[in-house]
């Protein structure tokens, strides 16, 4: 039993610590990329203490940020619900931490005993993933409600509406992969993509795009960052949080991004598959993380490109566009998997899905026309 406990710790501690430090790196990465997109330099001032290293590209910045967060005063509004106000940041951190263990990450030092303990080996890993991430909504609502602030409550309600709506296309697009792999075991899904990654099929590509868009909304990333829209509702549900509680929200948000990107890599991008993995199995972990960071780069890139959606556009997009498309994709995938002539799947599948997407976007276009004026004569 001691061995089991030790094995558990050997898996859980590196995951938690490793992803937390990757979080620090990602905040730096995001600030740097956004700065370069906007023709700025980004953080570059913090130097290593007691050394003559001047810049290091500002890589020490996250440490300084963390220190600042720790040193800040913890402010709780007078009328806030003290208990729930305290619990919300903790609850926002727990689900992403839990689902990180569900990723089929092959730790290079893992023994057979450790591997058996990894939650990715569970029969219902993907279902558990969705179940646990849905708890995040509760944390957001709890924070928004407990703060007793109208901006917080608005942000919380926006978050709940958005996360509940986008969870459906998210799950439906993942269902396609479950259908193709014949199970919800994360390791089996990676195994099923040995011959061909699912993204290289028409239904897989469509499902990946839907999944990616929906995961942007699930993690409140731009252009779906309405719950924390700074220009509209200050910071949404964490307006009333300061110091380390705010840092916990921040950490939870980034861990959720890691988790959902990791799931996308598992479902569509072949998990840890990549060149030279057969020769050096330790590379599998590196490839997995590299794919996660490729997705995160696209997320940051999108944040630097797109403006925020309006609330009605947000809801319409989920219910009128993504949902019908992901339902159609289920049928396309079923047909493609049972098709007698596999070469037909690309032209027919792409045509049907693209045609449906165009038709859907046409039918819901707002009837806005440029306004006309009669000039003063």
């Amino acid at each position: 039993m001691t061995q089991t406990l030790l094995n558990l710790l050997a898996i859980a501690v590196p995951l938690a610590v490793g992803f937390a430090s990757l979080f620090a790196f990602t905040t730096w990465l995001e600030r740097k990329i956004l700065a370069r997109i906007q023709n700025r330099i980004g953080p570059n001032r913090i130097s290593l203490p007691f050394t003559r290293f001047r810049r290091l590209f500002g890589l020490i910045q996250p440490a300084a940020d963390g220190l600042k967060m720790l040193a800040k005063e913890d402010i709780v509004p007078r009328d806030a619900d003290k208990l729930l106000h305290l619990l919300a940041p903790i609850l926002s951190l727990v689900p992403p931490m839990m689902v990180l263990c569900l990723l089929p990450l092959e730790l290079p030092y893992a023994t057979a005993g450790m591997r058996a303990l990894q939650a990715a080996a569970l029969d219902n890993a993907v279902l558990l993933f969705f179940a646990i991430t849905s708890l995040n909504t509760l944390a957001v609502f709890m924070a928004g409600w407990a703060s007793r602030n109208k901006y917080s409550l608005l942000g919380g309600m926006r978050a709940v509406a958005q996360m509940v709506s986008y969870e459906i296309p998210l799950v439906l697009s993942a269902a396609v992969v479950i259908m193709a792999a014949g199970g919800m075991n994360a390791q089996a899904i990676v195994e099923a993509q040995r011959a061909q990654w699912f993204i290289f099929t028409p239904w897989g590509l469509a499902a990946f795009l839907i999944f990616f868009i929906a995961s942007l909304a699930e993690t409140n990333r731009s252009p779906f960052d309405l719950p924390e829209a700074e220009s509209e509702i200050i910071a949404g549900y964490f307006t009333e949080y300061s110091g380390f509680k705010f840092a916990l929200f921040f950490l939870g948000e980034y861990l959720a991004i890691f988790a959902v990107s990791g799931l996308a890599v598992t479902l569509f991008l072949g998990g840890g598959a990549g060149p030279w993995v057969a020769a050096y199995p330790a590379l599998s972990c590196v490839w997995f993380l590299a794919k996660i960071f490729a997705l995160i780069f696209v997320m940051i890139w999108l944040r630097g490109t797109l403006p925020r959606l309006r609330v009605d556009q947000l809801m319409g997009f989920a219910w009128k566009f993504l949902l019908p498309l992901s339902l159609l994709n289920l049928f396309v995938a079923a047909a493609a998997l049972k098709l007698a002539k596999p070469w037909l799947s690309w032209p027919v599948g792409a045509l049907v899905l693209y045609g449906a997407a165009v038709a859907l976007s046409r039918s819901h276009r707002a009837d806005a026309a440029p306004r006309t004026y009669s000039y003063a004569e």
Binding site: D123, N124, L127, L128, W145, V160, D367, R371
Partner: protein
């Protein structure tokens, strides 16, 4: 040993959550306590080797039903949660009777038989089994349920839709 400790912790949390859910006057607190109960229940399902049911318990009850209740509360006047009024219901007596009667009824057959029920061996792949059962043996009830839910959905839309309003985008004069 671990199983025993886990069972008692989970059961205590579940009972506490249920008690808090019915006793708290603050509606939002009540819902969160109920969600705690649901979460503990899903832990108990895990202990019964029913991980699929546990996941569904979290997904449906904590994720969907709880959110729905919170949403419903937010649409009422009890948004702040400090409304201290209470319904003058005198149902506590019958509720208590029901709470006592239920375990008795459930435990009666094994007690009469004189031997505790033997749990069946935990199945290997619960999701696959459930799926094939639903699609083969129980396909007609499943379809009937689906039809019923669709009807309810359409009815809800019809009730909520109300009279026609002006299309959006025309609220500002040109």
């Amino acid at each position: 040993m671990i199983e025993g400790v886990a069972f008692y912790i989970l059961s205590t949390v579940a009972v506490l959550g249920a008690l808090l859910a019915v006793s708290r006057r603050n509606l939002v607190h009540g819902v969160f306590a109920l969600l705690l109960f649901f979460a503990a229940l899903s832990g108990l399902f895990v202990m019964l080797m029913a991980d699929y049911v546990a996941a569904v318990q979290v997904l449906v009850y904590v994720g969907a039903v709880g959110i729905l209740q919170l949403f419903a509360i937010m649409l009422t006047e009890h948004v702040t949660g400090d409304d201290l009024r209470r319904l003058g219901a005198r149902g506590w007596f019958w509720g208590l009777m029901l709470a006592v009667a239920l375990p008795v009824v459930l435990l009666l057959p094994p007690l009469l038989n004189g031997e505790p029920p033997v749990p069946p061996a935990a199945p290997q792949s619960t999701a696959r089994q459930l799926g094939s059962q639903l699609m083969e043996h129980y396909v007609v009830p499943l379809e009937v349920l689906a039809l019923l839910l669709t009807g309810a959905l359409i009815g809800a839309v019809a009730v909520a839709h109300g009279p026609e309003k002006d299309p959006p985008g025309k609220d500002r004069p040109a």
